[in-house]
Symmetry: D3
């Protein structure tokens, strides 16, 4: 009987979230270790499929840096980086698109479809979804590294409406037809804003936003925009936690209702964060 | 972390049911001890409200024998029964209608509304929902005790469509305008059949269908129609378990996809039966 | 031939009204002698059914004071009144609801249905239709006598839309779940206003608004809001005519286009008032 | 009070017809004396407008023989007839079309519009509404006298749907583009059949179908198809009554639910026939 | 191969116009020599049918002065004109209506239908499409010559919506039911404005707006509103070119996007003007 | 003037095709030389964009063998072929998908979008559009070369409905998630059949189906299915013409209304074939 009581408790806790998020667009940025471990990949795709089944409308944006580097090496090209961004000549951009759109996204499409949910892999050229321009790094031109100028949502909305999960490779284009490699976190944030997503979730390799990077117990479960900004200002949030926090702040500023950072290595991290009161990562809200 | 794993397990188990039953009509016969205990009444109404919130479409049929007897006594009339059915002269029928439609159903309506879900109390006269005729007991006329001749679903479908939970008192009428008191179990079964309900749930004072009435561990978790009929025939199901089992069989024959008998005294019995693999009562299917 | 000419005249007179009122919501307050005389009740229900058949959308609100008093007496409770309003402890409120919702409204539902028109009996708890609060009489608390705080029209509109005639018992509730007995005239006026009714008709025991209460020939056939207010101010309308007139004024102020007081004892009073040029009662307009 | 009772009686009698015929297509053949007397023309157009106002969907087909003859004379052409049908060379056909479509139909359009109802005058060429072929009279070719081969209802249905009253001149055409003058009674019957009209009404100069042509009291109020055929066979209906009766029979055979012959000279003949129990002409039904 | 290249060129040139004008309302004023030459009439009707087939929505307004004069003569009436406008007593108005609505418009309807496109001939009385009043010529009353007061577009829009081509005779009416003969050019302009037409095309007997009336090579291919007004003011456009130019200006001022004057005598003038870059007449735009 | 007459002729010839094919699905197989010549690529994409603009619904399937071979070489893999089909181990399948979906299809998407028409590049994995199985070549297993088992049209129909042009890479999958390289001609034929396409057009390097391969003047302009089969049987069509003809026959058998083989090297070959009477290739019909 005690197990029944516990089960009933979990259900009573989860059901209101299920109702509240029915129909919500949830943008999931999928990257990091969660991509390389097959079991975790399967558990994540299962979570996304389940979110779809119970009425949410997930949208996936994926990364893929290591695979790009690997293909470049096979093709005899050296990868080089400035401030963490890949120096991208036009051939590198072509390779990045080929790997992201021609391999990784189709693989995720198949994984979702194996859970019974139809998916479609696109990149920012399809339907002119991501219009981009060259991004300078501290004034330096490092090639076809793009920043999002405009998200055209017609194709995404049409796919969502027809019950497909869009799986988006972060490749953009401009009016001259150039190919840009775009940082997946920024792309996710821009797309979530343009779609008026209710949630934007970053699956990463950290437990959330931590007060003390060395103490995973120091995770903030929930933060408001102003708290986050204050904690950065007063030095409570420090070091590598700052860019992650800023990334969440950006999402809120673009109009997303809540932005989550989760440890993608925890099995079913998405379900636990969304359907339980305490969650397992950090949720930033307005 | 162990608790998270357990939570994820309950969610993974529940979500497919949530999806499968989205939009389903679930008829709940509410009666017995579950009506007299205020706490249980609240937990039951909360369960029904939750079912509605996550997309199911519950319909409630209630009983109320003890309250009718009490009012009769206050008005100086004696209750008498034949084979468990109340002998019902025209004044008794009037009192039954008054108590069921004028007091009990409105009280349930308020309870559901306190959970944030709109409800509407009707009886079988409204919209000619329950057309009835006199039911003879072994050939004997015991007055205005009715059996259902036809369920007219227009009003129920309209209320369901508009997101109201119908709360139905088991009072019927005929073309001459007589008032009939109808057994709530039979009314529930007829209504579930007419609405093509996916589920019909009887909240009762027993744990389900038991092999041995004295051993609550002997509960059948699931039974097919043919098994149930065979177990009655071969004496496995005996005594007071027989009418309950027959009541479930009746529901399946009218086209309901699954009929459940639950112990309504267990808190959140409805959620546990519907959203967990093992359930807590007996489910009869075709 | 003369009869044909007279018939044609009546038709030519009536048809424009039929067209003008097609689709109009007409709220009928039904009470007084028109309720106790079976023949008059039938003629009234027939009129309401006909209004529905030719495209109007009637809504009925009924009274029932004498029946409440009678049931209280049977249950050994004394009725007492302050300024014409019944002192209402919680048991009295329960009895009032039981009699109005559990007996009278269902009886009217059957009467309408015998004319081929589906009807549904509800009270102000259903769909939270009538939210009420305690009404003080000259500062005195006389119990659960309510005044309307808000009319939630979703249920009424849904029923009307689906071609049911709503039959409303004047019982309201508040957020704590209390039961209030509400004066049917005031409830009718509030409901007519909330539904943007084109007409509100009071079926009463007087011929209309009379200049001289003792002279039924002194009836005003039509009055404007300002005339009515002026006639009260200058003493033309006096005595028992004042509250009736004020009741009509209230309806106009809530946005109803015309409010009618008719003698409900005249057979087919509703049809004669609505479809003939002179009418038979008093019509108040803006 | 007696007048009120009489009024109520007429209304009670008329209302069910109003409801029953709401939305019905009623084809009115308008011709004979009812066309030449201005007052009668106005009363007829008023009746048609009223039918429209209360929800029926009238369609008018008009005649105009005398006006054609008059214009022919002015243009120096002689009218000649064979078996009551006008010998029609191509110029006569042109004159007939010019008078019917260019003068009479537009005049009726204006008359209806003066009653507040929009109307549109068309002939059988418009939207290919009436496809015709040459009609031989006892094997003789008398020119461009046509019989209806097909009624294309798209234009009529579109006008009716948009709340216009179609006013149709009985001119037809064929695939070679010839112009045919068609007998208005036959055209009305063909159109009523093609539109699945509920009623077809002939406004004529007789009281209806009479047993004894000299005794207007001998009118049949109602006849079934088989009775009508039997009465012709057994000589009860004789002489000039036969073609009129056959004309009605034709309508029924084409699927119209009831065909009426009325004396168009009686003011408001249409309303009296349709909205009173006894009617004033003869109604033929299946 | 050279012919293929030329064909491809014409298609590449035409296709964008086809797309741009899909769904556009194009009002064509049809008159002059293009009406009397059968071959030209057929080529014009074929062009209009083609415009309809590929998705444009043409509306035709026709003239017919010579036919009116001819019929007047046959009926023994003299035609007389003041400033080019026909002096129109009530009989002349009747004759004009008879000829335009009863003969010419029906003939055009048949011509269009022979191309496989349904058409409907109406005049301004139908559906009260053209409300008119008496037009004074320099203060002189010359009878029932009308100017357009209001265009009621319900009937036209309904016909267009249902894929009929309206063929309009320029006859108007007023509230008293008078019949007015209206100049077809002005009627076309008023109708094009009321329908928010994208194009208004005048098929005339001149090549377009010419700088030098005697030099057909001096045609303006395109003119803006301000240029046209300037050229009239500075005397570049002179003589008979002025009223034609003013007629186009009027169309633009009423909101039409482009107004065209074409030589209707050139076969397929409409197609050439609309679907080729240079066109063959003069196009006036804002 | 002669040029105008020629222009009008081309338009008169083209317009009926434009109307007839409005809304038609036209599947274009794009491959061969037409892909490698930039100018021809642009003219082809312009044709497809124009077809879309005037209301047709084109779908593109592309090839890309040479690019795959080139990438394989860069990655140090040898291409080998059996009967013209590429021997495809799992790495080759991965490279084929990467090149087709990650480079070629996105390039075509951009080309179409530069013409103002939105396009979306997908492959057969997206939305499970192409379910495939291993194709044996004369009983030999040459790896992941697939044949189409089923075309799931939901995604294609959704994109078409939303006005996107689908650009499809001929990659399929099966239930185990394998990647198959499919012959683009066969994929085009299967997709055209599944979409109930009106037309299927193969852009190739030959003028059409030729009687004599060495005489481009011997082209069949039109062939019926039975003629094609007869000409193969009797040796009229020989050699390399046989597989091309069989490919067309296959399309017709799958329900496409007409299949066209064109020389894709002729500028605007698509427009000339579709919108002129003679066309420039061979059209096969039922």
């Amino acid at each position: 009987m005690k197990r029944e009581i516990e089960k009933a408790r979990v259900l009573i806790e989860a059901l209101p979230y299920i109702q509240r998020f029915a129909g919500s667009i949830v943008v999931v940025k999928y990257g990091g270790s969660a991509m390389s471990d097959t079991e975790i990949k399967n558990s994540t795709m299962k979570d996304i499929a389940m979110m779809k089944m119970i009425g949410m409308r997930p949208v996936v944006i994926h990364g893929g840096g290591p695979s790009i580097s690997e293909m470049m090496e096979r093709l005899g090209k050296k990868s080089s980086f400035v401030d963490g961004l890949r120096v991208t000549d036009s051939e590198t951009a072509m390779i990045a698109e080929m790997v992201l759109s021609g391999t990784i996204s189709k693989d995720l499409v198949l994984s979702l479809q194996r859970q019974g949910i139809d998916a479609v892999g696109i990149n920012g050229k399809d339907g002119q979804t991501l219009l981009a321009r060259k991004k300078l790094v501290d004034g330096k031109d490092i090639g076809f590294v793009g920043e999002v100028v405009k998200v055209k949502t017609a194709l995404l909305n049409s796919l969502i409406e027809q019950d497909f999960i869009p799986v988006i490779s972060p490749i953009g284009t401009d009016w001259e037809g150039n190919t840009y490699n775009i940082n997946a976190d920024y792309a996710a944030s821009a797309i979530a804003g343009a779609l008026n997503a209710q949630k934007l979730v970053f699956l990463t390799d950290v437990e959330g936003i931590l007060k003390d990077v060395n103490d995973s117990e120091s995770r903030f479960s929930q933060l408001s925009l102003s708290e986050a900004e204050a904690y950065i200002a007063d030095g409570t949030i420090t070091g590598g936690m700052i860019p992650k926090t800023e990334c969440c702040i950006e999402g809120i500023k673009r109009g997303v209702q809540s932005v989550h950072i989760l440890d993608g290595r925890i099995p079913h991290a998405l379900l636990l964060e969304i359907f339980t009161n305490e969650g397992i990562g950090t949720m930033l809200t307005k």
